[in-house]
């Protein structure tokens, strides 16, 4: 049995009277690729937002390696090694690709006032390191994209923006990566290419655990080790995709059967 990295106990998030997440028990193992599925409004993105500190859980707890991190602010969560992408891209489009990637590597930046403003020679070396890291990372995902390192993100196509967002989440070498519908707005081929790159990345960093929110069931079937199905903020099934997809409760939630 692999070690549990992330665990939630009775996690509840409510908006007024609505319980977007209702007593969710969940665990993620080291190196696992977990698919999180469920109909629209079932609480998948809310779950990500609760994990990353954007929403404060009303009840329950989140444990990272057994340590309670419930209600920690987003910047702490990032420091613990959890990064994410957003369903609707949240890149700084007026900044360059490089700037966006460096933002993702915040953990490795020295933010001292003196160092940044007056020690320019040293700063230049650090900048060159960051450029190199960013260039290598980008060219793993797409050689063509690496050429556009100094272009503004607003000049990129949708697929390239997705790639930049995934790279921004990976550049700090996180322990847990949360992917919120990376296939939105992409063709099946583009999605497959992106997923292949992610698989390569996992081979190099076997300890990285990934949670993937996805509507493309074929994709989930192909890449995930295990699935968790949510409906109305509750977990209705869990297991391998081939098993889960046969369960009547899951079919009912998706297809509206009784």
């Amino acid at each position: 049995m692999r070690q549990t990295v992330l665990q939630t106990k009775e996690l509840t998030v409510s908006f007024g009277g609505l319980k977007a997440l209702n007593g969710l028990d969940f665990q993620l193992c080291e190196g696992e690729f977990l698919g999180l599925i469920g109909p629209n409004g079932s609480g998948k993105t809310t779950f990500f937002n609760a994990l990353t500190g954007i929403y404060r859980p009303a009840a329950g707890s989140v444990l990272l390696h057994g340590n309670d991190i419930t209600g920690a602010p987003p910047n702490k969560i990032y420091a613990y090694g959890i990064t994410r992408t957003f369903q609707r891209l949240r890149l700084a489009t007026s900044l360059s690709v490089l700037d966006n990637l460096i933002i993702g590597n915040q953990r490795n930046l020295n933010l001292g006032l003196w160092y940044n403003i007056f020690n320019r020679k040293y700063f230049k070396q650090r900048l060159q390191e960051q450029i190199q890291i960013a260039e290598e990372l980008l060219s793993r995902f797409s050689r063509d994209l690496a050429v556009h390192l100094f272009k503004p993100v607003s000049s990129l196509s949708m697929i390239d923006r997705r790639r930049v967002e995934v790279c921004r989440a990976l550049i700090s070498e996180p322990k847990i990566l949360l992917l919120d519908e990376p296939s939105a707005g992409m063709t099946p081929d583009e999605t497959r290419a992106l997923m292949d790159e992610l698989q390569h990345w996992r081979e190099q960093y076997p300890a990285l655990s990934i949670i993937l929110i996805e509507h493309e069931m074929e994709l989930i079937n192909k890449v995930s080790d295990r699935c968790v199905v949510l409906n109305y903020g509750e977990k209705i099934a869990e297991g391998r995709y081939s098993e889960v997809s046969k369960e009547p409760g899951v079919r009912a939630a998706y297809l509206g059967e009784d």
């Binding site: 990353t52 987003p74 990032y78 930046l109 450029i131």
Partner: protein, 383 residues
């Protein structure tokens, strides 16, 4: 481009600007200024057609330090050319000081996205600090007093940080507007600070030189404003350098990130409040420095000089120039300060005209006359 050629292009740009600025400041008849006002946009248009502007921009990106220093020296030449013209120097100094405050605003809402409609209040805090410190602490050097005035401005501004961090957008703007009004009212009812009559301020004395005297004959002679103009220029040049270095470092990157998407940047470990506070205090500090020099130059300050309309004027400088572009505030400050002085007709309708200018810019050129480019960390390749 070879180095020598680049430098020549840059120097040519400086020379042209100095000539145009000299024209605006020296000429007095309205029709002369009018001709100049028609010729400058035409000139810019033809330079643009001939790709000279792009050429210049490339040169400036390749040698930012040379550009910066040559422009500063160009202004020194301008000051020397105008050394007998009291009024022109007064205007030029005001431009330099307003540009410094606008740089502060650039850091605040151009970089970190913190709106500030009370810039003139922080300018005023600097001015009043100067008046009082200079009166009561004669043994402190004036350079240090300017420094303290900026610090006091930043610290009093810190009072606003909590409410600003807890509000967003329009509400944060309203808080700063309220502060500006409160500041003025406070000055008017406070007898220690001179009430509505204001305070007298003694002139600067630096490096054993009393600024109240006219410019020494050994250096060419001239108005006592020459010294203030040079101090204001040094202030602006330093402020510009700091602003540029902030932009070209992780600090500016983090501030931009906070402005563009606070939630996303928090998810990448960026501490939003930290950068907003840094930007807000630094910007107010700039305003305080400028206010201190302004007070010493005028020799007299009163609450009536620190109106909401002056804050709006400073905001319109940033809007006209280009939000977040530290270079842009300098020509914009020039246009907004000098034109109304030159056209007495406009003077009366000043605010009305600014209103129209702001509306036109927001409608037709929201990124300003000189839109901000991508971040350039270092000369040449990076960015």
């Amino acid at each position: 481009m070879s180095d020598l050629k680049t430098k020549l292009v840059l120097l040519l740009g400086v020379a042209l600007s100095v000539i145009v600025l000299y024209g605006f400041l020296y000429l007095e008849r309205e029709w002369e200024i009018g001709v100049l006002l028609v010729m400058v946009p035409l000139g810019v248009y033809f330079l643009k057609r001939a790709n000279a502007l792009t050429y210049y921009q490339h040169a400036a990106r390749e040698m930012p330090r040379f550009t910066w220093i040559s422009f500063a020296l160009g202004v020194v030449v301008l000051i020397m050319l105008l050394r007998h013209e009291d009024f022109a120097l007064l205007m030029l100094t005001t431009v330099l000081l307003y540009a410094t405050v606008s740089l502060g605003l650039t850091i605040q809402f151009g970089f970190a996205g913190v709106v500030n409609f009370a810039a003139i209040a922080f300018f005023g805090i600097g001015a009043y600090s100067m008046a009082i410190l200079n009166q009561h602490f004669l043994h402190i050097p004036d350079l240090l007093i300017i420094f303290f005035s900026g610090a006091i401005s930043a610290l009093l501004g810190a009072l606003l940080i909590l409410p600003i961090l807890r509000t967003r957008g329009h509400y944060a703007a309203l808080i700063t507007i309220a502060f500006g009004i409160l500041f003025r009212t406070f000055l008017e009812v406070n007898d220690v600070l001179g009430g509505p009559q204001g305070l007298r301020v003694s002139g600067l004395e630096m490096f054993g030189w009393d600024f109240g005297n006219s410019f020494p004959n050994e250096l060419g002679g001239g108005s006592f404003y020459v010294a203030y103009a040079i101090v204001a220029l040094v202030l602006l040049a330093t402020g510009y350098l700091i602003t540029r270095l902030i932009e070209a470092s992780w600090l500016g990157l983090n501030m931009d990130s906070v402005r563009l998407d606070e939630v996303a940047s928090a998810s990448f470990g960026i501490n939003g409040p930290r950068w907003k506070i840094t930007a807000f205090m630094l910007g107010n500090c700039f305003a305080g420095f400028a206010g201190a020099v302004y007070a010493a130059m005028y020799g007299f300050i009163a609450p009536a000089s620190f109106n909401l309309s002056d804050s709006l004027l400073l905001v319109s400088i940033v809007l006209l120039g280009g939000i977040g572009n530290p270079v842009a505030v300098i020509p914009a400050a020039f246009l907004i300060v000098v034109l109304p002085e030159k056209f007495q007709v406009i003077q009366e309708y000043r605010l009305l005209l600014f209103g129209i200018v702001v509306i036109l810019i927001l409608r037709f050129r929201p990124s300003g006359l000189m839109p901000r480019g991508l971040r350039q960390y270092f000369a040449g390749r990076f960015g």
